[in-house]
């Protein structure tokens, strides 16, 4: 409690609006008629299906496994039949579709065999990380980064601090809050597992001071723990975006994560509360990640609250549980109002990163004001948690000056939206930065591809030149050989003429034949010789060209 905090620059205090969803405890959701499981619910490579359409599966069965290091598996949230594997609407800012497994529940809700680990202390950390990986756990705070990757630091990394991000600084969202209120012991168990894996010196659970009930519940759970631990509940002042990973690290430790480096670089691992709880379920109960708590809130809902939804539940189904008023609904946001994105349809499913669904009506979120010109008032720079100059970045973004934007560290923008929030001219600043970041990424990808194409082109040119050189050499050798044969023939004919100086008239025919006989032999010999020579030459030139080919390649590598 008395821990020294370090604060971070900038930040805003938007209206919290958290009470609406806190009036009721976590609600169960009846099984929907179908579940839609996108293969990509995380950052990294999409999962690879290991079942096919028509198969019946049990609850918790793996449907698609992680593909590559940065990936996460997908499991069946209930027992049923896989109807198809097809493109379906996914909850994504683009509104595009993605490949999904469509599962029809059989209402039996039959689990596969589960095996929990009662005592983790004798288990190797790598094995625990493996279970976490098999369980398909990915960051549930919104980003969806596969958890096992974060828990597999390089051998030389010295992890000092584990931070549990229970800040939940976005307005409206309360899913972590109720999780801690109702299942604090599970969260604490999850922290213990993480501590065992990372062997870190201290574990800090950071909670904003606007969640007194959650803080009390966590402290009580911690007090009831009858084993030595290094966990500390740290209460931090409420300020958006104190839950940003980098901001939280700075706030708690005073350390800044160097640009472009993961927190591992400074010996810190940050995990979200819900993720920590999911780790506890996976290790101690053998349950893969198949459900999560979703905050349903907004003025278009008559019964806002937190609902424990199976992954893949259609959002529409979930909103019905919260008694959605269809006529009121004007904007449906996944995530919080600051960083969440508007969904184009409620057909998309709940995924691992769906922490909140905000069904807003027109009064709550009116259409955005038209933007006025930038007066460079600097309000955006005051609130920027990354100490950027948003007003300058805005000019560069608008003018398409990508180099300048890069120089002014656009890449360090965490897209928290605080700048847009305070802008008196209502300029959609962060929207510009997102677009410009996309342009930058595209430009860099194009650049990489064009470099690659140039290498391929140059290699091809070289290859063609070599082939041509080899062909030329061959042709030359052949020409030489035939020239020599010709010369030999001529010489032979001369010899013949010398041997038979007087023989003219009658011996002509005979001598002719004799000469031709010896000629043929000689010519053949000459050809053999020439061929040998040509081969030797070709071999020599081959090695020469080989040398010349290997040279540019080594240069490339250097």
């Amino acid at each position: 409690m008395s821990r020294k905090l370090f604060s971070f620059p900038g930040g805003i205090h938007p209206p919290e609006n958290k009470l609406q969803s806190l009036s009721i405890p976590i609600q169960a959701v009846p099984l929907p008629s179908k579940l839609i499981l996108p293969l990509q619910q995380h950052i990294g490579a999409p999962a690879k299906t290991i079942i096919s359409a028509g198969e019946s599966v049990k609850k918790g069965q793996c449907l698609a496994e992680a593909q590559g290091f940065v990936s996460a598996a997908v499991h069946a949230p209930t027992s049923g039949t896989v109807v198809e594997i097809a493109d379906h609407e996914i909850p994504h800012a683009s509104g595009l579709t993605g490949l999904c497994i469509i599962l029809q529940p059989d209402q039996k809700d039959q689990w596969i065999e589960r095996q929990g680990i009662a005592d983790i202390r004798n288990i190797e950390p790598t094995e625990l990380v493996n279970i976490i990986r098999q369980s398909g756990i990915a960051g549930m705070g919104g980003a969806g980064f596969p958890t096992s990757v974060k828990l597999s630091p390089p051998a030389d990394a010295n992890i000092k601090t584990l931070i549990i991000n229970a800040v939940e600084c976005e307005p409206y969202i309360t899913s972590d809050d109720v999780l801690m209120r109702e299942r604090a012991a599970g969260v604490i168990q999850g922290v213990l597992i993480l501590t065992h894996i990372l062997q870190n010196q201290q574990s800090l659970v950071a909670i904003e001071d606007n969640k007194p009930d959650a803080i009390a519940a966590m402290q009580e759970a911690l007090a009831q723990l009858n084993e030595p631990h290094n966990i500390e509940i740290v209460v931090i002042p409420t300020r958006y975006p104190s839950g940003g990973e980098k901001q939280l690290i700075q706030n708690l430790t005073g350390i800044e994560v160097p640009a472009g480096k993961p927190p591992l670089h400074v010996g810190i691992v940050v995990q979200n509360t819900a993720t920590t709880y999911a780790i506890h379920r996976a290790i101690e109960h053998g349950e893969p990640l198949i459900s999560r708590i979703v905050t349903l809130t907004g003025n278009a809902l008559k019964q806002p609250g937190n609902y424990e939804a199976l992954l893949g539940t259609p959002i529409e189904h979930l909103l019905e549980q919260a008694q959605l008023d269809q006529h009121q609904l004007s904007r449906l946001i996944m995530g919080g109002p600051m960083m969440g994105f508007a969904l184009e349809s409620a057909n998309a499913p709940v995924v691992k990163t769906t922490n909140c669904l905000l069904a807003a009506n027109r009064e709550e979120y009116p259409e955005p004001e038209p933007a006025n010109p930038c007066i460079r008032c600097g309000a955006c720079a005051e609130v920027c948690p990354a100490s950027l100059l948003p007003q300058q970045l805005f000019w560069f973004s608008m003018g398409g000056e990508l180099d300048k934007a890069e120089q002014y560290n656009l890449a360090d923008c965490i897209e928290c939206g605080a700048c847009s929030y305070v802008c008196p001219s209502h300029i959609p600043l962060v929207q510009y930065y997102r677009a410009t970041k996309g342009e930058l990424a595209k430009r860099n990808a194009d650049l990489k591809q064009s470099d690659h194409a140039r290498d391929r082109f140059e290699f091809r040119e070289l290859r063609l030149a070599q082939e041509k050189a080899a062909k030329d050499a061959k042709r030359k050798a052949r020409a030489d050989a035939s020239a020599k044969a010709q010369a030999a023939k001529k010489a032979a004919a001369e010899l013949e003429a010398k041997n038979n100086p007087e023989g003219s008239g009658q011996s002509e025919g005979k001598g002719d034949s004799a000469a031709s006989d010896s000629d043929i032999v000689k010519a053949a010999l000459a050809r053999v010789e020439a061929k040998k020579k040509a081969q030797a030459e070709a071999a020599a030139s081959q090695t020469a060209t080989n040398e010349s080919t290997s040279q540019p390649e080594t240069q490339d590598r250097s």
Binding site: M338, E367, Q391, D412, S420, P428
Partner: protein, 368 residues
């Protein structure tokens, strides 16, 4: 179900450009009251006239540019320009002086450069400098402030007829005789070898620590400025660094109270348009430097130039010149003064291209 496709953030704070501008105008109120009290109704009439002219020009230009009028008027920026210029004009400035100044500020200094947000120079300062250079006589005819022996503060009718001779004619009061006197800064500049004590006599234009009336006017603007700071409309960096530099310069070059004196720090801080400039003109964000350190440098530059021109230059006051000169420097300051971004070490990102490679090398050294 038709759902809106709006990008985040979905929330917006209550701030709004029009609101900001209205607060700026409101904050000039204490200064305006002081000015009106000491120099008569002319100040108030000037201000109203400046508003009308500004709105007229704004409407005209926006119409010519074929832009939505309501949208442009709603930002109140024209009124702010008019207010600042109106407050800086002599109390009985003839009506056409205001028209020329405000017209130049709005049409040329603002709209010809692309309108609000795109103008490199502070419109009010541009308007003022144009008037000062073109009409030096009219621009230096201040009535003596109330409290000076010779002062006859003109009443409403006198002021009105003096500003608009038409009204004078209508009301049968043509050719009002108005006594004018140089401002304290002017007097101080032309003291011709007198010591400070000699010119600082009771009943003269010099009051407690600066000019009679002027000290109160400056205090008024100081109060308004503190209000703006408290409402976080402006940030402290520019006023503090500007006033600080002015204070420092006047301390260093004070020269005591003899005939060589350059004036006390208090005299410089509370004379002329110092406070109006510090809180209202120099803080115009459009034309100022934009980063925190940049603002400090920008403010310091203004303070320095004001002092240099006041003491060694040809003009008694130099606020507008100082602001314009530093407007020139603002992009340069912005180019070279960039705050340290999270996760970057100091001096890594100063707007130089070569830094890219430096970044990577320093990162490598971090690794080891």
């Amino acid at each position: 179900m038709k759902l809106e496709k709006v990008t985040s953030p979905h929330l917006h704070g209550r701030s709004d450009t029009g609101h900001v501008m209205r607060l700026v105008i409101l904050a000039t109120l204490p200064g305006l009251v002081a000015l009106t009290w000491f120099f008569g109704w002319g100040v108030f009439i000037n201000l109203l006239w400046a508003w009308i002219v500004a709105l007229g020009f704004e409407t005209l230009v926006v119409k010519i540019r074929k832009r939505p009028l309501g949208y442009y008027i709603n930002d109140y920026s024209a009124l702010v320009t008019a207010t600042l210029l109106g407050l800086a004009l002599p109390p009985l400035a003839p009506w056409w002086l205001t028209v020329v100044g405000v017209g130049f500020a709005i049409v040329i200094a603002k709209h010809l450069y692309g309108g609000l947000g795109s103008n490199p120079f502070n419109p009010a300062a541009v308007g003022y400098v144009v008037l000062l250079i073109s009409f030096p006589a009219e621009m230096s005819s201040w009535v003596p402030a109330r409290g000076i022996e010779a002062a006859v503060t003109p009443g409403f009718i006198d002021s009105l007829s003096s500003i608009f001779p038409v009204f004078g004619n209508l009301l049968g009061q043509p050719n009002v005789d108005i006594i004018t006197q140089a401002t304290p800064l002017d007097l101080f500049k032309q003291k011709q070898g007198l010591t400070t004590a000699e010119i600082w006599q009771p009943g003269s234009a010099f009051g407690h620590f600066a000019g009679v009336g002027w000290e109160w006017v400056n205090l008024g603007f100081l109060v308004g400025g503190i209000f703006l700071l408290q409402r976080r409309i402006i940030y402290w960096h520019i006023p503090v660094s500007m006033l600080g530099t002015l204070l420092l310069m006047s301390l260093i070059f004070w020269g005591g109270s003899g005939s060589e004196s350059n004036g006390s720090p208090m005299f410089h801080l509370f004379s002329g348009a110092t406070m109006l400039c510090a809180f209202f003109i120099a803080t115009d964000p459009v034309t100022a430097a934009t980063s925190t350190r940049g603002r400090l440098m920008y403010g310091a530059g203004i303070g320095l130039i004001i002092y240099v021109i006041r003491v060694w230059g040809n003009y008694p006051d130099a606020v507008a010149f100082a602001v314009l000169l530093m407007n020139f420097c603002a992009p340069l300051i912005d180019q070279y003064v960039q705050p340290r971004t999270y996760g970057h070490s100091q001096g890594q990102n100063k707007g130089h291209k070569q830094n890219k490679s430096k970044n990577s090398t320093s990162d490598q050294s971090d690794d080891s």
